[in-house]
């Protein structure tokens, strides 16, 4: 399967080519290069998936892990080396499909959305860079390769969030995203180093002997790695960058900040799952609590946001929380005995990527139509944008978990796994699922029903998006409709054996009821033009409403801690010391160097006789030194 190298190479070449030529390329040419390359990558990914799963299971009943190619890049010792390679196993193949599909859709969509933007070529170059990095991350054969590509996706995310670099908010958001995730990645790096030091290898499977020796340090290493994953996947309290990252172009939000990069943390935990289960189950359960709290927090905040992209951002955070919870509640590697969550998490990752990308792309169409992110500019848009309306509704139903859409199946598995773990966890997650249904339909009604902003719409009549934008919507909606019926457990499960998904109708019944209650509540509150109930609630609980609207002041707490405590009390004195003492010393050194250089200039007189004297003198001096010592 050497051809898989093309999956990484093509987007890289496309990035280098369009990046180097830049403005000398016609915008549409740059767009076509990026799109064709991504289409080729998607084709290769599907081909890889077909041949991988088509090859069948081995004697022990699992899909064998294959290394399509691998190159040792930097050897330290015989076992400890950094490789660059291409790993094929069920979850990496699944991720290949997700990434290449969403990326292709976003490439096509961007033709319409970014039309006429300054820097169109740059945009496509960065998209290619991101696609390459994300694919490299998921197919990493070792933890260090994963880290390298992990940082590369961070960089491409930074570049794309700050795409509108003349806009102050975009710059601030890109810096915030980069610094927060980079800060978390420090944990990841330290985790990797501890892991490498104690197991003597960067491999995902260093062998039971090496793991046995590193037993005591593994929980620490895995915990630190999870911090890195929590940063990328926007887990509380490192989530603060994701809502701001919505300053980037909307297709970028769909690709990076909804479907692919933000689930890297989930993927990391899934990748290290055997180690978590075997050596650090407590750390795994901690991640479950972090995920559950994040899911709850983000769902509450999402209920009161007025910027549609922020609602979706918090919804993403909440849904990633679901995936982390599903992994965290696993108690063994056997899907029948408490390991169901692994499959559920991956399944949800898959379905969520599709419908969340759909939601973001739909939001992009709406923003494109009304030139605003605020709900107040919308309302009643169903008349103007039928395709967007229907596809958006499908996605909302899917994320709310309504049968027979894809979200229902994956969420049901997650809830079943949570109930297996503890009834409290199951109840909590079911409640959050209800909240999800509520805030999604609040969003839906506010956009497409409710009170229309007639003034604005008269001035600038909303219109349906061009075909390049609606075709991806229709495609993703179709996937959302049918993806639930994929026998996902046949491909991915915690022990690799085929797992037959069966729906637990008690859990499913409860979750369906809760979802309907959420939808009904949203319908009651937001369908009509006057929102008496909603406004009444908001004014009655104004304290809570305001707190939630301001995301419970988490950003302000960060501001306070960084500016008032770290900057003022620690950084300022250090800066003074640096300015006066360190710089002073360095200036002294610099002056000393320059004057020393002046003092010895006489040596280079240009006089050949003097040169020979130095020559002979030097040789004799050396002899004397050698004889003395």
């Amino acid at each position: 399967m050497e051809y898989t190298i093309l999956i990484l190479l093509l987007p890289l070449l496309s990035f280098v080519f369009t990046g180097l030529l830049g403005k000398r390329l016609k915008p549409s040419v740059a767009g076509w290069i990026g799109t064709i390359v991504t289409a080729a990558v998607a084709f290769l990914s599907y081909w890889t998936a077909i041949s991988y799963f088509g090859a069948g299971r081995d004697a022990s009943g699992v899909f064998p892990t294959q290394v399509a190619w691998n190159a040792v890049w930097l050897p330290f010792t015989e076992n400890l080396h950094i490789d660059i390679g291409f790993l094929l196993d069920p979850i990496s193949v699944m991720m290949l499909i997700v990434i290449s599909t969403v990326s292709l859709m976003v490439h096509i969509y961007s033709f319409g959305y970014m039309k006429g933007e300054k820097g169109f070529q740059r945009y496509y170059a960065f998209l290619s860079l991101f696609t390459m990095s994300m694919l490299g991350l998921v197919v990493a054969t070792n933890i260090f390769q994963m880290y390298i590509f992990w940082e590369l996706v961070g960089v491409s995310s930074y570049l794309l969030i700050g795409f509108y670099y003349t806009k102050k908010e975009a710059i601030a958001a890109s810096k915030k995203a980069f610094i927060v995730t980079r800060f978390a990645d420090l944990g990841f790096l330290i985790g990797i180093l501890i892991y490498g030091y104690y197991t003597g290898s960067f491999s995902f499977e260093p062998g039971s002997e090496a793991l046995g020796m590193a037993k005591t340090m593994l929980p620490l290493a895995l915990g630190l790695m999870f911090i890195g994953g929590a940063g990328k996947s926007a887990m509380f309290p490192l989530h603060i960058w994701l809502p701001d990252a919505m300053e980037g172009p909307t297709p970028v939000s769909a690709l990076i900040h909804a479907a692919t990069m933000v689930v890297a943390g989930v993927y990391l935990v899934a990748r290290m799952f055997p180690l978590f289960i075997g050596y650090a189950p407590d750390v795994l359960h901690i991640t479950a609590y972090v995920g559950a709290f994040t899911a709850l927090y983000a769902a509450i905040v999402a209920c009161v946001q007025s910027d549609i992209k922020r609602v979706l951002a918090f919804s993403t955070i909440s849904q990633i929380g679901f995936m982390i919870v599903a992994l965290g509640v696993c108690t063994s590697a056997d899907p029948h005995e408490g390991g169901l969550g692994y499959m559920a998490s991956m399944f949800h990752l898959f379905t969520h990527a599709m419908f969340k990308a759909l939601l973001f792309l739909g939001a992009g169409c709406i923003i494109h139509a009304v030139h605003s992110n605020e709900m107040s500019a919308m309302g009643g848009l169903r008349k103007y944008m039928p395709v967007t309306h229907i596809t958006f509704l499908i996605a909302c139903l899917a994320i709310a978990g309504i049968w027979p859409l894809s979200g229902f199946f994956s969420k049901d598995e997650i809830l079943a796994a949570c109930f297996d773990f503890s009834p409290w966890m199951g109840a909590l997650m079911t409640f959050i699922a209800g909240l999800t249904a509520f805030y999604m339909f609040r969003l839906y009604y506010s956009i497409f029903w409710g009170k229309e902003n007639k003034e604005l719409h008269a001035e600038h009549r909303p219109h349906e998006a061009p075909a390049s934008m609606t075709v991806p919507l229709i495609f993703l909606a179709a996937v959302t409709l049918v993806a639930g019926w994929i026998p996902f457990g046949e491909f991915v499960s915690s022990d690799g054996q085929a797992y037959h998904i069966h729906i637990d109708w008690t859990v499913a019944g409860i979750s369906l009821c809760v979802a309907f209650i959420g939808i009904a509540l949203a319908t009651w509150m937001y369908l009509r033009e006057d929102r008496k109930v909603a406004d009444g609630l908001a004014s009655r609980f104004s304290g809570l409403y305001k707190a939630a609207y301001h995301r419970f002041y988490i950003d302000e707490i960060y501001q306070f801690v960084t500016h008032k405590i770290i900057f003022a009390c620690i950084s300022t004195p250090i800066a003074w010391f640096d300015r006066h003492v360190v710089d002073g010393f360095m200036n002294l050194l610099g002056k000393g160097t320059v004057s020393a250089s002046g003092a010895i200039r006489g040596m280079q007189s240009g006089n050949i006789q003097k040169y020979t004297v130095w020559f002979l003198g030097g040789a004799l001096g050396l002899i004397v030194v050698l004889l003395l010592f």
Binding site: T593, S597, I600, M603, Y611, F615, I623
Partner: protein
């Protein structure tokens, strides 16, 4: 005597001699018209020569001429690298050689350069001190002609005179040292000498004198004083040849002899190198800080680089030898790129080589400025360029042998060197200039040379297989 042995082990030298004779004859018969094709013919010949000899044909070590000449695979790798460097110099020298005042002696340039290369080949492969001395002379005397190639220019003539006088002095001293060895050992075969080396005062003297001769070629402090004047005065192509090929060959030969012959005196020569390294790096850096002429500036830079090269020699280990060859390779790419840019600018701007002339260079010639910048970054050892990795490997080799303080001093000096390398970058990119060097298009041959160097600067460090390949052969020592 079995002559088949000669062809088995000396094939690189014999091929080189064949090339020299071909060039010589071509120069004689071609006439004015044929000389127009001299450059392509030369490039083809050199490429064929490199292709035929760069791969070692035998795994083990071999000797011929009764032990006078030694063959090992790693020697062959280094010879191949030197030949590649020579080809790059030829590529970059073309625009200079095409001028009216040099066109007619183009053939001389090739023959002289290749003769010095042949001398270096023998120097590297020598198994006997006389062989070594002959090789070194063969590498030095034609070099003086090359330095004085533009003989009607005062600078060049002066440089040639200074070079030949210094070289004579160094050779004399070296021969003096070798005679002491003959006196104390009774033989000059490397293999037989080791048994008689005991570190007596006379032998210490002999070793220092011998070393000073090589120190002259590598231009180590305090044997370096000719360097700046010669580099500045010599034609730029000759300077680049002198700064890379000649230096690399001598450093490698020194390491081989120190490891092979002077193994019993290891503490003596390590102390000697310790002092010389500290002096070379520091003094050269201090001088480099105040240079205004780019060629002179690079002269001091190359002295300090020579100090770094010695860091690999001082370790005296197999890893040291690998890192030495790798360092020479990387240094060659970066330095030839820098000299290539300076040379082509000099040709196209009417001889501008001052640092101030380069102010605003990026605005008029962005591509060349970027090449120059990358070369300087590599020389300074900034990651991810090749120079970083090569420095890293030599530091690692020296550190491993316990030279902690030395590595620390070298690291501090790296910081100083960063300052003056960036000074040039600043001049090109930031400083403003009312009359910058006009935009020009360098000729095809120079561009190929620069591209090869650039590829080396960008790729050598990242592609680890290069280092591994060298490493594989150097264990054959």
């Amino acid at each position: 005597m079995d002559f088949s042995q000669i062809f088995t082990y000396m094939y690189a030298e014999i091929a080189l001699i064949a090339v020299i004779v071909t060039v010589f004859l071509y120069d004689l018969i071609s006439g004015k018209r044929g000389r127009r094709f001299f450059h392509p013919v030369m490039c083809v010949l050199m490429t064929a020569f490199i292709a035929a000899t760069i791969v070692p044909y035998h795994d083990g070590t071999g000797e011929t001429f009764g032990g006078m000449f030694v063959y090992t695979p790693v020697f062959n790798i280094l010879k191949g690298i030197l030949a590649v460097g020579t080809l790059i110099v030829f590529l970059q020298a073309d625009s200079w050689l095409r001028r009216d005042d040099t066109e007619f002696k183009r053939g001389e340039f090739y023959v002289l350069t290749l003769s010095t290369l042949l001398g270096m080949y023998f120097m590297i492969s020598a198994g006997h001190f006389l062989m070594f001395f002959l090789g070194m002379e063969l590498a030095s005397v034609p070099m003086a002609c090359l330095v004085a190639f533009d003989k009607y220019k005062n600078n060049s003539a002066e440089a040639g005179a200074k070079y030949i006088l210094s070289a004579l002095f160094a050779s004399g001293l070296m021969l003096f040292g070798i005679s002491f060895f003959y006196g104390t050992c009774g033989t000059l075969y490397f293999n037989d000498m080791t048994a008689h080396i005991d570190g007596s005062p006379l032998q210490i003297m002999a070793m220092v004198f011998f070393f000073s001769g090589l120190g002259f070629k590598i231009s180590l402090v305090p044997f370096h004083l000719w360097t700046a004047d010669t580099y500045q005065g010599a034609p730029t192509s000759v300077t680049s040849y002198l700064s890379v090929i000649s230096k690399g060959a001598a450093a490698f030969a020194l390491m081989v002899i120190l490891m092979k012959v002077f193994a019993p005196m290891v503490h003596d020569w390590q102390l000697m190198l310790w002092i010389v390294i500290v002096l070379s790096i520091t003094v050269a850096n201090l001088f480099a800080l105040r240079q205004k002429d780019l060629k002179r500036f690079l002269a001091f830079s190359s002295i300090s680089q020579a100090g770094y090269i010695m860091l690999a020699v001082i370790s005296g280990s197999a890893i040291g030898m690998t890192s030495l060859i790798f360092y020479i390779l990387v240094y060659m790419a970066a330095n030839l790129a820098a000299f290539g840019v300076i040379g082509t600018v000099e040709q196209n701007s009417g001889g501008k080589v001052g640092m101030d002339d380069y102010n605003g260079f990026y605005r008029t010639n962005p591509k060349l400025a970027v090449v120059m910048m990358l070369a300087l970054f590599s020389l300074a050892g900034i990651p991810p360029f090749a120079g970083f990795f090569s420095k890293f490997f030599i530091f690692a080799a020296a550190f491993e042998q316990g030279f902690h303080i030395l590595v620390f001093i070298a690291l501090i000096n790296t910081v100083i060197s960063l300052y003056y390398y960036l000074l040039v970058v600043k001049a090109m990119f930031i400083n403003r200039n009312d009359s910058p060097i006009a935009a020009f298009r360098s000729d095809c041959s120079t561009r190929i040379g620069l591209l090869v160097c650039l590829a080396g600067v960008l790729v050598l460090g990242i592609v680890s297989s290069v280092y591994d390949c060298i490493n594989m052969f150097s264990f054959g020592m």
